[in-house]
Amino acid sequence: MRANLPAAADAGARPAHEEDRHTPFLMYRRFFYFKIALAAAVVSIVLYYGYRPRGEPYGGTWVGYLLGTVGALLILWLMWFGYRKRAYAGNQGKLEAWLSAHVYFGLGLLVVATLHTGFHFGWNIHTAAYALMCLVIASGAFGIYCYVHYPPLMTQNRASTTMPQMLARIAVLNDELRAAAMGIDDASARLVTRSIDNTEIGGRTWQQVSGRYPRCATAAALAGIDAIVASGAPERQIGYRRLRVLLDEKAQILGRVRRDISYKAMMDIWLYVHVPLSFALLAALLAHVVSVFVYW
């Protein structure tokens, strides 16, 4: 729901609709796709419990075949989203609409497929396909959480700058540090050099995701300079104080940059589970359908 901006926003408080700005895909067209998915789920449940097969509920009763066909087509359509996402020149409908439909129909698939199983599970390719589907949907649900939770945090963290701006500021600070370090002792100079040359931005997966850089050279340089300033030798105070100010600002910006990277990584990492598993599901689904025809 897009609320109108209030005439005078409170200083410091985020406008009420800012949260909403980050989740249009959930509320798209007033939950249009949620309603459709809910209706489909309800119809499936009514069909499942309303129809009494002669034997047991099973994937092979006519309700089972219906739910299975709908589920398989749903899976194929859901996977098509990966293609639509990158068809930038496409006229296949708004991406926002596709995403909203993808999320809600994906959740609805859980109901349809579970009823299709008739709650028969075993150590076979059929339950493997179902399990893979559940993992895909679970990772997708985690993705929804990330897409709702992290963008506001990113906006807040960036505080009206952009990533290139922050990186540019760090580069400038590196140059200023180099100049400010002209007159200091060699040991401190080495610390500062290391801070400049080994500015760790991003890196391995765990570092990006966690935002923790235990061997950060800037933090080490800051600690070193602090120790020297604290030791109190007066001839060092002035030169080192400027260094400290520069290093401090660099550390602040680095923190924001790394936090930004971490949020972005969290918004990406679940897709490395969601997409590969969905291809595994595709293969298992193919095996499941073929086996039904082979062993009719």
Binding site: I125, L167, D175, A265, F279, A283, V294
Partner: protein
């Protein structure tokens, strides 16, 4: 010492900018610090990195910081240098050149490795984004797709033609790798009796896109009984049933216990309208249990002589009557306070006569020898209480009695004072030469005594008639044949052993029955008190197969092996 220091800056490939200055000092110090004679303003150079001085040997360069010197490419802490020598100090190159007029020495200083663009350097160090960290969605997607397609689809398909079927229950091949691959496609547990060949799919599945044919089931179950009597006229119902596949009622892959479908609808599809489709079958319509199930029809003896039977509805009109030709009163035997018997006072119970058969489903037939003789003897002579007539054959009874008295006459020893002397002679005394009249007397005596005895035996109230329907017309004495039914509901399977917790009298009102023609069966209302329908919530769930069998061995085989469905 006077030294000309020239700073070189290259611009592009060809242009070199030169900036010279004169330095006068005893020694030339090189370093980052501003107090050095030659300041090298780069953080990669130490505060005080090197010293150039004039010695007796000539111009000497010494390292004074931590940063290593390289003189003409070789690492050295110090060295004598002359014109043309190149010294590398960090990113700087210092070349000794010929000093111009008036100078002791001359050097050029050039920054060989400028730092370049800070932003470029920063970006070169950064690895932002998971793709930069080496993760690849595409690689993993392909890997997992290929893995599951290979193991889940390609392998089972490849192995499909190699699966072996189990042809008979005593030729089960050992489980091998192919069977494990087949099992990965098994959608559900096989029923318990079939589990031993769960891995041999070809036992039942005979072709791609082909449902399991009857021929597969008949491999082992060829003799399974039919549901229909062979010669009964059943109209279209027979064709309907013949067109039904075994697998339509027997679903596999539904779990260990779940092979036979027990839903009422499977039966009522035909039995709800059977009276119309097959009127000659004489089967009542059943729509549901219990509401749509007709009252039981007991199969009773209509005429024991033929014998012929009839089905009569319990509680119906005419009242069902079992004409067994036995005269028996349950009430007279089930006296609660008991009565005197030859073996003392006894309170009789149902179990005294009705003995469960092995398995406990029904009861052993009631026989005279087994159940009645212990109280009801067949004496015929008060003087000789141990002599009884044989049971069950009226003609033999007569000859037995006659033979008995004839033998008594021959042997002698009869105590009756009215008997002829010949007959009363002591036993062991040889037969005297008897006169004609004496022999006639003896014969007459034997005949009279036999007649008297037969009179008792065939008495209206005593003798056979005590329990049997007798017939004295046409001069001959006959006992009507007795036909006792063991089962009054032969179309159902009531198992008494499953109902042991009940007392007999809860269903059978025998205590008040005075005639053996009473049919003492409970109606359906007795069952309904505990047995509810298919989906009963507070009663025992019961379906058609709880009481009725589909396959009746007595009807012969249901399908022949040539069935191609």
């Amino acid at each position: 010492m006077q030294v000309e220091v020239t700073f070189l800056t290259r611009r592009g490939a060809d242009a070199i900018m030169r900036k010279s200055q004169t330095v006068t000092a005893d020694a030339l110090r090189f370093g980052r610090g501003s107090d050095n004679e030659v300041q090298l303003p780069d953080i990669r150079v130490g505060l005080h990195a090197a010293v150039l001085a004039e010695r007796e040997a000539g111009i000497v360069v010494e390292q004074s910081g931590d940063l290593a010197l390289r003189i003409n490419g070789a690492s050295a802490a110090s060295g004598t240098v002359r014109s043309g020598d190149r010294i590398h100090l960090g990113p700087y190159e210092i070349v000794i050149v010929d000093p111009p007029q008036g100078f002791d020495a001359a050097i050029t200083v050039e920054l060989l490795q400028p730092l370049g663009d800070a932003m470029e350097r920063l970006l070169a160090q950064s690895r932002i984004g998971l793709v930069q960290a080496g993760l690849s969605r595409r690689r993993w997607s392909w890997a997992l797709f290929v893995l599951f397609a290979a193991l889940g689809l390609a392998l089972p398909l490849a192995v499909y033609p190699l699966g072996h079927a189990v042809k008979s229950s005593n030729a089960v091949p050992p489980v091998d790798a192919i069977d494990f691959v087949n099992l990965s496609w098994n959608p559900g547990d096989l029923s318990n009796p079939h589990r031993f060949f769960a891995q041999n799919c070809a036992t039942c599945h005979r072709g791609v896109l082909a449902a399991v044919p009857d021929a597969a089931c008949l491999t082992c179950h060829a003799g399974i009984g039919s549901h229909l009597a062979a010669n009964a006229d059943l109209g279209p119902a027979r064709a309907d049933l013949a067109a039904t596949r075994c697998a339509e009622c027997h679903e596999e892959h539904r779990g260990i216990d779940a092979m036979v479908i027990r839903a009422d609808a499977l039966c009522t599809d035909c039995h709800a309208t059977l009276k119309e489709t097959a009127p000659k079958a004489d089967v009542q319509d059943v729509t549901r249990y219990p509401q749509g199930h007709p009252q039981f029809r007991a199969t009773v003896v209509a005429d024991a002589a033929k014998p012929s039977f009839a089905r009569m509805m319990l509680g119906g009109d005419p009242k069902p009557v079992d004409r067994s030709n036995l005269v028996f009163s349950h009430a007279a035997h089930l006296i609660p306070t008991g009565f005197l018997t030859p073996s003392g006072h006894k309170v009789m119970t149902c179990a005294d006569c009705h003995v469960p058969e092995p398995g406990g489903m029904g009861f052993l037939p009631v026989t005279f020898e087994g159940q009645c003789h212990s109280c009801h003897d067949l004496k015929f002579d008060a003087d000789l209480p141990w002599r009884e007539v044989p049971h069950g054959d009226a003609a033999r009874v007569k000859s037995a009695v006659q033979d008995f008295y004839a033998r008594a006459a021959l042997e002698g020893g009869v105590l009756d004072p009215d008997a002829p002397a010949l007959v009363r002679r002591p036993v062991g005394t040889p037969l005297p030469a008897a006169s004609e009249s004496e022999r006639r007397d003896a014969l007459a005596w034997a005949a009279k005594r036999a007649n008297d005895a037969m009179g008792i035996i065939f008495d209206e109230k005593r003798g056979c008639a005590y329990c049997h329907v007798t017939d004295r017309s046409n001069g001959a004495f006959t006992v009507a044949p007795v036909v006792l039914r063991a089962r009054f509901l032969p179309q159902a399977q009531f198992d008494h052993s499953k109902h042991l917790a009940l007392d007999c009298s809860q269903c059978h009102d025998s205590r008040h029955s005075e005639k053996s023609s009473d049919v003492l069966l409970p109606g359906i209302e007795s069952c309904v008190s505990c047995h509810g329908g298919e989906r009963a919530s507070l009663k025992t769930r019961s379906t058609c197969t709880s009481c009725h069998l589909f396959h009746r061995q007595e009807f012969g085989p249901m399908k022949t092996a040539s069935a191609d469905k």
